[in-house]
Amino acid sequence: MNSVDETVGEQTHTQGVDSDRSRLDRLKTSAFVESMPFWLPATLLVFLFVYGAIGWNAIISLTGWSGLGQPEYTSFTLDMYRQMPADTDFIASFRNTVVLLVAFTGVSLVVGLGLALLVDRKIRFENTIRTIYLLPMALSFVVTAIFWSWMYASDGLINTMLGGVGLGWVAQDWLGDPRFKLAAVIVALIWQFSGYCMIVYLAGLRSIPNDHYEAARIDGASTLTLYRRVIIPQLRSSTIGATVVLMVFALKAFDFIYVMFGTNPGRSADILAVTMYREAFAASQWAYGAAIAVVLFGLALTIIGPYAYSQYKRGAL
C-alpha cells in the first residue's frame, strides 16, 4: 500500500510540473490562440470604433460641451438628462418615436402576414409578386421619402386619385397638417417594410412540415382553424425576429424624416433621431445631442436585450 501511495505521490508531483508545461504548450497550440490572428484585429477594431465610440458618446453626454471649442473632461454631471423632462421638443419627439415604433411595427407585421398567407396559396407568378412586394425595401430611404413627398403633395397622386373616384373631400394637406404628418410617414414606412415581413413570414410558413397540415385536415379542421391553431402559432419566432428588425429600423427612421422635412420637422413629426441631429449639428449643443443619443441607445437596448437574452436561453446565440 505504502509503495503504491509513494508512486502515486511521485506521479502527482511530476504530473504537476508536466501539466504546467503542457498547459502552456496546449495553450500555444489551442484553437483559441491559433485563431487569434483571424478574429482579434476585427474584435479590437469593433471595440474601439463601435463600443468605444458609444462609451465616448456617453461620456460627452455628461459634460457641458457646446459651441465650437473642445470638450472639457473635468467635471461630469447629469445636467443634460435633467433638462429633458422640461424640454417640450424632447417630450414631443420621444412620444412620436414611441408612436412610430408601435404603429409601424404592428401594422407592418399584420400586412406582411396577410401578404405571406396570400402568396403562400400556390398562386401563379409567385416569384414575380414576391419580388414586387420586396422591391421597396431595396430602395434607400432618400429615394422613397422623395417620391412619397410627391405623392402626398396637395396636387400629388394621392389627392388626385381621391378626387378622381369622387372622394375629393377626403383629400388633405398630408405633409402640412400636423394631424397627418406622422401618420403619413408611418404609412410610407409600412409600404416600404411590409414586403420584408412577408418574406420572413413566407420562410416561416415554408418551414412548417406538410404533415401538420395533413394531420389537421384528417382531424377535420376547417381552413380558419388550421390557420389559428396550426399555422400562426408556429410563426412565433418569425414574428419576434421581424419585430426586432422593424423596431430598430423605426428608431433609425432619421433619413426618411430628414429628407421629407429637413432638420426641423415641427413637433408633430419630430423623432428622437432628428432632435439629436438638430441639437448636435445645427445648434452645436454637443452634450445635449449626445444625451439624446444615449436615450435612443437605451431604447434600442430595451428592444434588443430581451430578444438576445431569450435567444441565448434557447441556445440560438
Binding site: Q70, E72, S154, G176, K181, S284
Partner: protein, 441 residues
C-alpha cells in the same frame, strides 16, 4: 502686386503688439487644453512660396449662385494663376448642410481654407472660441475699409476684430408681384402702407380669383423671414432691434401682433404651400401668373429675369415690403480665415481677391445681389439690381437678418427656427410667442 506688398508691409507695431496678445491667449489656451494656434504673420512667413490649393466650402450649387461662384473662381484664377481652387460644395437646407459640415470640421481642427458664412452674429460661435484669424491689415487695409459701406464693415467685426470679408448684399424686404394679376384685381402695390394693409390687398386678389401670396411652408426659414418683415413694417426697426437684443418681453404686443398678421396671411397662401420643396417652387406662381404677391430675398429676382418674355416692370415688379420703404433689410455672405488653415498663403490671396471690386463685379450680377463696395461699376448690373443699389443708397435703416444669422447667434437662430417650425405646424400665436421668448434664454 500691391496686394503682395500689403502682406509684407502690414507688419506694423500694432501687429506685433497683437502678436504678443495672441501669444498670451494661446498660452492660456494651452493651459486649458486647447491646441496652440500660430500667429498669422509667423504662419505666413513659414513658407511664403508654398501655395496649397485653396479649398472653399460653399452652398452655391445651382442656378445663378453657381454661375456667380464660378465667375468668382475664374477671376481669382486669372489674378493668381499659380493657386489652384478646390471647390467643396455642400448643397441643401438653405446652408444648414454646409453649416453642419463646417462645424464638424472646425471642431476636428481640420477646416477648409475658407468657407461661406453669414457675417455678423453668425460668426460669434467662431470668435468666442478664437477660431478665426484677425485679418485687419492683411486683408482689411485702409483702401478696402474706405471702399466698403459701413454696414458690411460692422458685420465683419462682430467681436471687434476684422474676421470676415463680405462679398455681397441681399435685400430681404422685397415684395414681388405679377403686374397683370394685381392690375386685374385692381390693387396698387405701391399704395399699400403696412403689412396689415397687405391683407386687404390680398383679399381683393383672392376675390379676383388668384392666389394672394405664394409661399413655401415646408421648411421654417421662409416664414421666419416673412414674419421679420411684418414686424419691421408694422412696428418699425426699434421693435425689431429690441427683439434681437433679447428683450422679447418689452415688445410682447408687437411680436404677438406681427405673428397674428402672419397667421392671417396664411389664408391667402396656395393650398400646396406646405408641400413646396423650396422657395423657387413658390416663386414660380408669379411666373405662371397664378399668384399676386411673393415675399422673398432679392435672389428670387433671378427666377424672373431668367424667364424669357417675362419682363421687369411690364410683367413682374417689386416694391419694398409694405411699411419698410426706408429700409434695406440686410443679408450677406462672407468668407473667413479659419485657424488650423491648410493653405495660409493661398487663403490670404483669396480673401484679398474677394474684397476687390473686380471680384464683386464678377460675383454679384449673376448672384442677384449688390456689392458691399461702393466703387463697383453699376452698368454691369440688371435694371432691377440698379434700382436696388439706388434703394440701398437712399435707405435710412439697414436691419440685419434673423433668418440668415446676421442678427442673432446661431444657437438662438436655431431656436427661433424651431419656434417657427412649430408655428407653420399649428399656427398658434401664444405658443410661438412663448417659444420665441424662450429662444434667448
Amino acid at each position: 502686386m500691391t496686394q503682395q506688398h500689403t502682406v509684407a508691409g502690414g507688419r506694423s507695431r500694432r501687429r506685433i503688439l497683437q502678436a504678443i496678445g495672441t501669444a498670451g491667449i494661446v498660452g492660456l489656451a494651452g493651459c486649458t487644453g486647447t491646441d496652440d494656434t500660430e500667429e498669422l504673420d509667423q504662419l505666413l512667413d513659414e513658407n511664403p512660396a508654398e501655395f496649397n490649393p485653396v479649398e472653399i466650402g460653399h452652398w452655391w450649387t445651382a442656378g445663378g449662385e453657381q454661375e456667380a461662384f464660378e465667375a468668382l473662381v475664374a477671376g481669382f484664377e486669372e489674378a493668381y494663376p499659380e493657386i489652384e481652387v478646390d471647390s467643396s460644395p455642400s448643397p441643401g437646407g438653405a446652408g444648414s448642410a454646409l453649416e453642419a459640415d463646417i462645424r464638424n470640421r472646425v471642431v476636428d481642427q481640420n477646416p477648409p481654407s475658407t468657407f461661406q458664412i453669414w457675417p455678423g452674429q453668425a460668426l460669434t460661435d467662431y470668435t468666442d472660441e478664437d477660431l478665426l484669424y484677425d485679418i485687419e491689415g492683411h486683408v482689411w487695409d485702409d483702401e478696402m475699409q474706405e471702399a466698403y459701406l459701413d454696414g458690411p464693415i460692422e458685420v465683419s467685426r462682430p467681436a471687434g476684430e476684422f474676421v470676415a470679408v463680405p462679398i455681397n448684399i441681399h435685400r430681404l424686404n422685397n415684395l414681388f408681384y405679377n403686374v397683370d394679376v394685381v392690375e386685374d384685381a385692381g390693387v396698387d402695390p405701391a399704395s399699400i402702407e403696412s403689412p396689415s394693409g397687405l391683407l386687404d390687398a390680398m383679399e381683393a386678389v383672392d376675390e379676383a380669383g388668384y392666389i394672394g401670396m405664394a409661399q413655401q411652408t415646408q421648411s421654417a426659414w421662409s416664414t421666419v423671414q416673412l414674419w421679420a418683415q411684418v414686424l419691421l413694417g408694422e412696428h418699425g426697426v426699434g421693435a425689431y432691434e429690441t427683439f434681437i437684443s433679447g428683450d422679447v418681453e418689452a415688445v410682447e404686443t408687437e411680436i404677438r401682433d406681427s405673428l397674428d398678421i402672419t397667421e392671417q396671411y396664411r389664408e391667402y397662401f396656395s393650398d400646396d404651400a406646405s408641400s413646396l420643396n423650396d422657395w423657387d417652387d413658390a416663386s414660380d406662381y408669379i411666373n405662371r401668373g397664378e399668384a399676386a404677391f411673393f415675399h422673398q430675398g432679392d435672389w428670387a429676382a433671378g427666377e424672373y429675369e431668367g424667364d424669357d418674355g417675362f419682363e421687369y416692370g411690364d410683367d413682374w415688379d417689386h416694391v419694398a415690403f409694405p411699411g419698410t420703404d426706408e429700409m434695406y433689410a440686410l443679408n450677406m455672405d462672407s468668407f473667413v480665415f479659419p485657424k488650423h488653415n491648410p493653405s495660409p498663403n493661398a487663403t490670404l490671396r483669396f480673401l484679398q481677391y474677394a474684397g476687390t471690386a473686380d471680384a464683386q463685379e464678377r460675383f454679384n450680377p449673376p448672384k442677384g445681389s449688390i456689392p458691399p463696395r461702393t466703387d463697383v461699376d453699376e452698368s454691369v448690373f440688371t435694371p432691377f439690381l440698379q434700382d436696388q443699389i439706388a434703394d440701398f443708397q437712399a435707405s435710412t435703416e439697414q436691419p440685419p437678418s434673423i433668418a440668415h444669422g446676421l442678427a442673432v447667434r446661431s444657437s438662438i437662430q436655431t431656436s427661433i427656427e424651431g419656434a417657427f417650425a412649430n408655428f407653420i405646424d399649428n399656427w398658434d400665436v401664444d405658443e410661438t410667442y412663448d417659444e420665441l421668448a424662450a429662444s434667448f434664454e
